[in-house]
């Protein structure tokens, strides 16, 4: 094996790729070759480091120098200074990775990583996802070997049960129980499916696992196949994730070639293979029965349960369906034992959870934390707080099925049951932070627009009910809300939750219910005072000029496309609200902050 004195790890996840990391890699390889160092220094294309905000990211080992926001032009300097002369290029380092006296902090000491515990993401940003040997070097396929050679099928299920692992896709059903149910029925054919149709807006952990560590998913599927007695797996992955699809294809080919998928794995007589199926852009296909219908080549509509997939799933055969992040935990549980996994987390939610931090937060990116970490720790310690000194208003979790968590619950330990208790849910782990500039009625409307759009139309409560709710919200945000609207929303929500066919419909009213619970005053302001407190809903806004601040420069009047602003130069101008179209051009142009929104 070749020995390299130094390794340059560069993120090739979607985030950093779109920030130009492929060109940076090319430049690194060029410069290293020009310096004659190609036998001493290796460039490794890795998956996501999580800190997407600072991409493209590159870490040089053995020093662990964490370079952020690199440009192609910076590469030559890093090579000539750091790699040739051994002098770290201090001004290109991620600022928070350097101590005050100029020493490099290790990854674990950086604020963003300090409170994290990477289990599902352990290999992301560490190994080259397109090279099976790197995965194997990090104990890859060891768990499969252990399961096949040292454990019975019941042992495997037992370990997963004891670990307390619950589904990371949303509902949090115990994974071991799912496997146990699917092992029970006698059937010559069973299936293992992986749900990689990550559709919750704001969640991208599955994408990062698939892009950064695809083999961990394949290995876990094979273990699941062994446990329930299946020989065939399917990964249903979104076509919107081209890099993930490409790396999965490479990983499957490499695993087949190495004999880790296919016939007679490890000489044990166990056969297991995996095929990919691409989603075609239907959110409802993230629902388990709809996903199976889609793999069967039909319109991805959900089916009533029972029969549950463990009895009658894909092609009518017993099937288990696990989410990507769930599977990414499995191999570690087999290797380290259920006690190790259960030692992390809270009483009923074990292990870690990956959250995708997004929205109004300084460190957007992926974080993996032990269950039970508080929202405050995630947002302020890891996420670095809210940009521009704004005030935290709410964090939205669970996507269109979830709800908003207001500031009063910042200190609640995050786990499945606590989130449900406060009217939200874990969901797949999207966490969108909102500040005082976000209107909660508008956010609720945004989510309902989503569900109305994505409703498959099979059952009337979801098809018609959510549309009626959206119409009411639309009226409210346009200043036409009436007394009784809130009650109508609540009644519709209750009925839809009780009667919709699948998870999508049953949870669709949640964003409305949770915003009503915590931000009822905003709804009331819209309906009774015809006012949008956050200043978002255009129909309810009116612009005015503060005569104290206005210097009469006439810039706003010249920028107004509607000719609604008039006045004498050097004395305060006024806005004619009858002509105003509320475009905000005056506000954007005023240099004195004299335009006020009401």
């Amino acid at each position: 094996m070749e020995y390299y004195r130094s390794q340059v790890l560069i993120c090739t996840g979607t985030g950093c790729s779109s920030s130009n990391s492929p060109a940076i890699i090319k430049r690194f390889e060029e410069c290293i070759r020009n310096a004659g160092l190609e036998n001493e220094i290796k460039v490794v294309r890795t998956g996501c480091f999580g800190l997407c905000e600072n991409g493209p990211i590159c870490i040089v080992y053995p020093e662990g120098a964490f370079y952020s926001h690199i440009k192609v032009d910076d590469v030559e300097r890093i090579v000539s200074e750091h790699l040739v002369k051994g002098r770290v290029v201090a001004d290109l380092l991620y600022k928070k990775s350097v101590t005050e006296d100029g020493k490099i902090r290790s990854l674990e000491e950086i604020d963003f990583y300090k409170k994290q515990k990477r289990v599902a993401l352990r290999n992301c940003g560490v190994i080259d996802p397109e090279n099976i040997n790197e995965y194997i070097a990090f104990d890859g396929y060891k768990a499969l070997a252990k399961a096949l050679t040292e454990m019975s099928r019941d042992d495997v299920i037992d370990v997963i049960l004891k670990s307390g692992l619950r589904g990371r896709g949303g509902a949090g059903f115990p994974t071991g129980l799912k496997w146990k149910f699917a092992k029970a029925p006698e059937s010559d054919v069973k299936y293992v499916c992986c749900n990689a149709d990550e559709g919750d807006p704001g969640a991208f952990m599955d994408r990062s696992v698939l892009e950064g560590d695809p083999h961990s998913v394949l290995e876990a599927m094979a273990i699941a196949g062994y446990a329930i007695g299946s020989q065939q797996g399917y990964i249903y992955v979104r076509a919107e994730y081209p890099i993930a699809v490409k790396r999965l294809r490479i990983a499957i080919d490499q695993a087949r070639e190495a004999g880790l998928l296919g016939k007679d794995i490890f000489g044990t007589g166990f056969n297991f293979d995996i095929d990919l199926r691409l989603g075609s852009g239907a959110f409802v296909c993230g629902e388990e029965t709809a996903l199976m219908t889609s793999i069967e080549g039909c319109r991805g509509e959900p089916r009533p349960r029972p029969p549950f997939p463990a009895i009658k799933g894909l092609f009518g055969k017993p099937t288990i369906l696990n989410n990507v992040e769930t599977l990414a935990n499995v191999c570690q549980i087999i290797l380290n034992g259920p006690e190790w996994f259960a030692s992390m987390g809270t009483e009923k939610s074990k292990g870690t959870k990956v959250f995708a931090l997004g929205g109004k937060i300084n460190n957007t990116g992926l974080v993996e934390i032990p269950m039970g970490t508080t929202l405050r720790e995630i947002i302020y310690d890891i996420g670095g707080g809210i940009p521009n000194g704004k005030k935290f208003k709410a964090a939205q979790t669970g996507g269109p099925s979830g709800g908003c968590i207001p500031a009063e619950h910042l200190d609640i330990p995050i786990d499945y049951d606590n989130l449900i208790a406060i009217g939200s849910m874990m969901g797949s782990g999207g966490m969108i932070v909102m500040d005082e500039d976000n209107c909660m009625v508008n956010i609720a409307k945004f989510f309902l627009e989503f569900t109305v759009d994505e409703s498959c139309g099979k059952c009337p409560p979801c098809r018609i009910g959510t549309r009626r709710m959206l119409e009411i919200l639309d009226r409210i945000t346009h200043g036409k809300g009436e007394d009784g609207d809130i009650e109508k929303l609540e009644k519709l929500a209750k009925n839809i939750k009780a009667s919709a066919l699948c998870g999508l419909g049953q949870t669709a009213p949640n964003p409305v219910l949770s915003t009503l619970r915590y931000f009822r005053d905003e709804y009331e302001a819209h309906i009774y005072e015809k006012r949008c407190p956050a200043g978002v809903c255009k129909a309810l806004l009116s612009y005015a000029i503060d005569p104290e601040k206005c210097r009469g420069c006439s810039l706003c009047a010249r920028n107004c496309p509607a000719g609604a602003i008039s006045g004498q130069v050097r004395s305060p101008f006024v806005i004619d609200n009858k002509k105003c179209i509320k475009c905000g051009a005056c506000e954007a142009s005023c240099k004195f902050g004299a335009i006020v929104k009401r």
């Binding site: 969640a203 319109r299 092609f315 995708a356 997004g358 909102m434």
Partner: protein
Amino acid sequence: MAVGNGNRKEQFEQLDGVIAQWKGVEGGLLPIMQHAQEILGCVDEEVQHYISAATGIPVSTIYGVATFYSQFTLKPRGKYTMGICLGTACYVRGSQQVLDELEKRLGIGVGETTADGMFTLNATRCIGCCGLAPAMMVNDEVYGRLVPGDVPGIIEKYRARG
């Protein structure tokens, strides 16, 4: 994709290969249609009938699938499909304003194609680039941290590419 009649025959031959590979495979209809769209640019009535005749799957089923999934299109798309993300993270960071600018600059609405066949404008669901919100995909390329001012440059880049 602007597809001329001249090479359409070759495209159908290519499709024959795909159908041969997937025919008889359980759940093979979706992969066939995905390839068909890639090769022919859309799954219009002609393509649906062609797949139906070759596989024996009723054309009503194929039409049902084609209209269910948002990725399938019954009309040819432009050479470049611009999909601006309206996922939550992008939305709260102002992707609507970027979309407004795209509509203004391209002179088309969401779901429409420019007269020269270059651009189709789409509003997509989350593309998983929330770390770079607001984000947009042009075919398979991702653009992040967008502001409305970036729009003309991006359009120009693809126009120049032709």
